[in-house]
C-alpha cells in the first residue's frame, strides 16, 4: 500500500535513516514486549516466579500451566467453543446482511437510496445509550442470557456498510448490471452471481473486522450473559482476573475461604489464559493486513 516513488534525489540521508530505523525498532519492541512477557510468564516454572517475579529470563521453564488449563479448567474449553461459535456465526451473518444493505444504496438508479442511507447514517450521530439498550434488550425483546444478545449488537456496523457501498459504487459498473438484466437475470441472481464474486476483497476485509469484533467482545456478555456455561472466552478471562484481584485485596475474605484461595489459578496459569485469549487473530492478521488496511483507509477517506 505504500507506493514506491522515485526517491533517488529526495530521500533522507543515511544518518537520518539509521536514526529513524533505530527509533522504529524501539517502537516495535514496545508493542511486542508486553505480549512476550505474558507468554514467558505463562511458561515459567512457579519456583522462578516466586524467586524472581515476572521476568523475561526465567530460571526454569514449565508447561504445566497449559496442561492444567485444559485439564482442570473444563470451563475454558467450553468458553473457547462459545467464542468460536459466536465469532463464526456472527461474522458470516454480519457480512451477508451488511452486503444486502450496502448493495441497494450503492445503486444509482434505486429511488430509496438517500432515505436508507440516512436511516443508517443517523445511527452514527445519535444513540439511545447503553441503559436504554439494556432495557430494550432485556424487557422488550427478551434477550437476557441468550447468545443472540452477543450477536445482534455487532451485526450491522454503519461505518462498514458505507465502506461496502463505496466499494460497490467504484468497482461494479452500472452497465454490467444493466446488461445482465437484459440477459434476463433477476436482482438476486445479479447480487449473488455478479456483485458478490466481484467484491471478494471488501468481503474479506469485513470478515476480518467482524472476526476481531466478535472475538474480542466482552462488554455485551457483561451486560446480558448470566449463566456461566454461556461465557465466551474473553468474558471468562475477565471474571477470573477480577476475582483474583478481589480476593487479593480482601485478605480477610480470603482467610475465611481457604478453599476458594486454593482454587485460584496461579500466576502462570492466568497468563496462559491470556495467551489463549489472544487467540488465532494475532497469528493470521499479518496475512490479511493488506485487505484490512485497504478497508480502513477507504472508509476514512470517503468519510
Amino acid at each position: 500500500m505504500i507506493k514506491v516513488r522515485n526517491k533517488r534525489d529526495n530521500s533522507i540521508g543515511p544518518v537520518a535513516n539509521a536514526a529513524l530505523n533505530a527509533w522504529f525498532i524501539l517502537l516495535s519492541l514496545a508493542c511486542v514486549l508486553p505480549i512476550l512477557l505474558v507468554v514467558i510468564v505463562s511458561v515459567s516454572h512457579n519456583d522462578s516466579l516466586l524467586n524472581r517475579g515476572y521476568s523475561f529470563f526465567p530460571e526454569k521453564l514449565s508447561g504445566i500451566a497449559y496442561e492444567s488449563l485444559f485439564k482442570d479448567y473444563g470451563t475454558i474449553v467450553g468458553a473457547y467453543g462459545v467464542s468460536i461459535g459466536i465469532t463464526v456465526a456472527g461474522t458470516l451473518l454480519s457480512v451477508l446482511l451488511m452486503a444486502l444493505y450496502a448493495y441497494p444504496i450503492s445503486r444509482g438508479d434505486y429511488p430509496l437510496r438517500s432515505f436508507f442511507t440516512f436511516v443508517l447514517f443517523f445511527t452514527m450521530l445519535f444513540s439511545g445509550g447503553v441503559v436504554s439498550k439494556y432495557i430494550v434488550f432485556t424487557q422488550a425483546i427478551g434477550l437476557l442470557d441468550s447468545y443472540m444478545a452477543l450477536i445482534l449488537p455487532l451485526l450491522i456496523v454503519p461505518f462498514n456498510v458505507f465502506i461496502m457501498r463505496t466499494f460497490f459504487q467504484t468497482t461494479i459498473h452500472p452497465a454490467l448490471i444493466e446488461s445482465s438484466r437484459i440477459d434476463g437475470a433477476g436482482e438476486w441472481l445479479i447480487f449473488f452471481r455478479i456483485v458478490l464474486p466481484l467484491s471478494l476483497p471488501v468481503m474479506a476485509t469485513m470478515a476480518l473486522f467482524g472476526t476481531i469484533a466478535y472475538w474480542n467482545d466482552w462488554f455485551n456478555s457483561l451486560l446480558f450473559i448470566r449463566s456461566e456455561e454461556k461465557y465466551p472466552l474473553q468474558f471468562l478471562m475477565m471474571r477470573v482476573l477480577n476475582d483474583v484481584q478481589y480476593l487479593r485485596n480482601n485478605v480477610q475474605l480470603a482467610a475465611q475461604n481457604p478453599e476458594m484461595m486454593s482454587q485460584l489459578p496461579n500466576e502462570s496459569l492466568q497468563m496462559a489464559m491470556a495467551v489463549v485469549g489472544i487467540g488465532p487473530i494475532l497469528l493470521v492478521y499479518p496475512f490479511f493486513q493488506k485487505y484490512f488496511v485497504k478497508g480502513l483507509t477507504v472508509g476514512a477517506i470517503k468519510g
Binding site: 505480549i35 438508479d109 447503553v130
Partner: protein, 300 residues
C-alpha cells in the same frame, strides 16, 4: 410508486439488516423516555409513573457527575491530541524510511496491539503492575526502590491510562495517515527539490497540508465522542478498583455501575441520555464549524 414496485426486490434485500438496525439502534433511541420515568419492576417500563426531570435533578445534585464529566472530557481531549500527534508523526517518519520492506515490517508490529481485546490488555498491564511479582515492582526493587501498590494509588493512573490508550491506538491511527501520504502526487516533492526545499520544509509545506482533510475528518469523528470513553480501558484495565475511582471513573463506567450494581435505572438512564445528547450536539457543532471554514472538508 411504479418505480418502487420495479425495485421491490432491492428493498426486500434490505429488510433483514433494517430489522437489526431498528432493534439495535432505533428502539433504544425511543427508549430514552425511561429517563423521564420512575421505573419499577412491578409496573414495568410502560406502567411506571412519569416524573419529568426528577432523575436529572438527582444526577446534577450528586457529586459524581462533575467528577465523571471532568474525567471523561479531559481524558478524551488528551487522548485525541496525543494520538493525533503520535500517529501523524509515525506516519510521516515511516514514509520517509528508505527500506520499504522494513517500513512494512514496522507497520505490522505497531498495529499488533490494536488486535487485542481490552481484557487481554488488562492481563498485560497486570503482568507489569502486579504488586507482588509484577515486572515493574521487581525492577524497582532491583534498583533499591520501594515497590508501589499500583492498583490503589491514584496518582499514576492518568499516565498509565494515557500510555495504554496510545499503545493500543497509535499504530492503527498511523496506518490511515500512511495511506494518505502514499497518495500524495510525487510531483509536488520533485518541484520542491528543484526549489531547494529541505526534507523538513517539504513535510511542513507539502505532506502535512496534503493530509489535512483526513486529519479534520478524524477530528470531527472523535470530537463527537468527547463525552464517551472506552469502557474497557477505564473499567477493566484498572480492574474496577474502588480506590482508583477518583481518576478512572468516567460517564460510561459510572452508567454501568449505577445500572448493574446499584440497579438505579433512573439515575443511569439520565446520565446516558445527557451523554448521547451532548455527543449529538458536538458532532453537529464541529461539522458546522468545519463547514463554515471550508465547505469541502465537512463530513455532511
Amino acid at each position: 410508486m411504479l418505480a418502487l414496485w420495479k425495485y421491490r426486490v432491492l428493498t426486500f434485500m434490505m429488510f433483514p439488516a433494517l430489522l437489526i438496525v431498528v432493534l439495535n439502534n432505533y428502539l433504544p433511541m425511543f427508549g430514552v423516555f425511561i429517563a423521564f420515568k420512575n421505573i419499577n419492576y412491578t409496573d414495568g417500563i410502560w406502567g411506571s409513573p412519569w416524573i419529568g426531570f426528577k432523575n436529572f435533578e438527582f444526577l446534577f445534585s450528586s457529586q459524581s457527575i462533575w467528577r465523571i464529566t471532568r474525567n471523561t472530557v479531559l481524558y478524551s481531549l488528551t487522548f485525541m491530541v496525543i494520538n493525533l500527534v503520535l500517529s501523524v508523526g509515525i506516519a510521516v517518519a515511516i514514509s520517509e524510511l528508505r527500506g520499504r520492506l522494513l517500513a512494512k515490517g514496522y507497520q505490522t508490529l505497531i498495529i499488533m496491539p490494536y488486535f487485542l481485546s481490552m481484557v487481554v490488555v488488562s492481563y498485560l498491564v497486570y503482568a507489569f503492575l502486579n504488586p507482588d511479582r509484577g515486572f515493574v515492582n521487581v525492577l524497582l526493587e532491583t534498583f533499591g526502590a520501594d515497590r508501589v501498590f499500583w492498583y490503589s494509588e491514584t496518582e499514576y493512573w492518568p499516565y498509565i491510562l494515557t500510555l495504554v490508550n496510545a499503545w493500543k491506538g497509535v499504530g492503527i491511527g498511523a496506518v490511515i495517515y500512511i495511506a494518505a501520504i502514499a497518495g500524495i502526487d510525487p510531483e509536488y516533492y520533485e518541484a520542491a527539490v528543484i526549489d531547494g526545499a529541505s526534507k523538513w520544509r517539504q513535510t511542513i509545506h507539502i505532506t502535512l497540508p496534503s493530509i489535512q482533510p483526513i486529519i479534520i475528518i478524524m477530528t470531527i469523528l472523535s470530537m463527537g465522542h468527547v463525552f464517551n470513553s472506552d469502557f474497557g480501558l477505564f473499567y477493566q484495565v484498572p480492574m474496577d478498583a474502588g480506590a482508583l475511582y477518583p481518576v478512572t471513573d468516567t460517564v460510561d463506567t459510572y452508567v454501568y455501575r449505577v445500572l448493574m450494581e446499584l440497579n438505579d435505572i433512573g439515575m443511569s438512564s439520565a446520565a446516558a441520555l445527557v451523554q448521547s445528547v451532548l455527543g449529538f450536539i458536538l458532532v453537529l457543532a464541529t461539522n458546522a464549524t468545519v463547514r463554515k471554514i471550508n465547505r469541502e472538508q465537512a463530513l455532511f
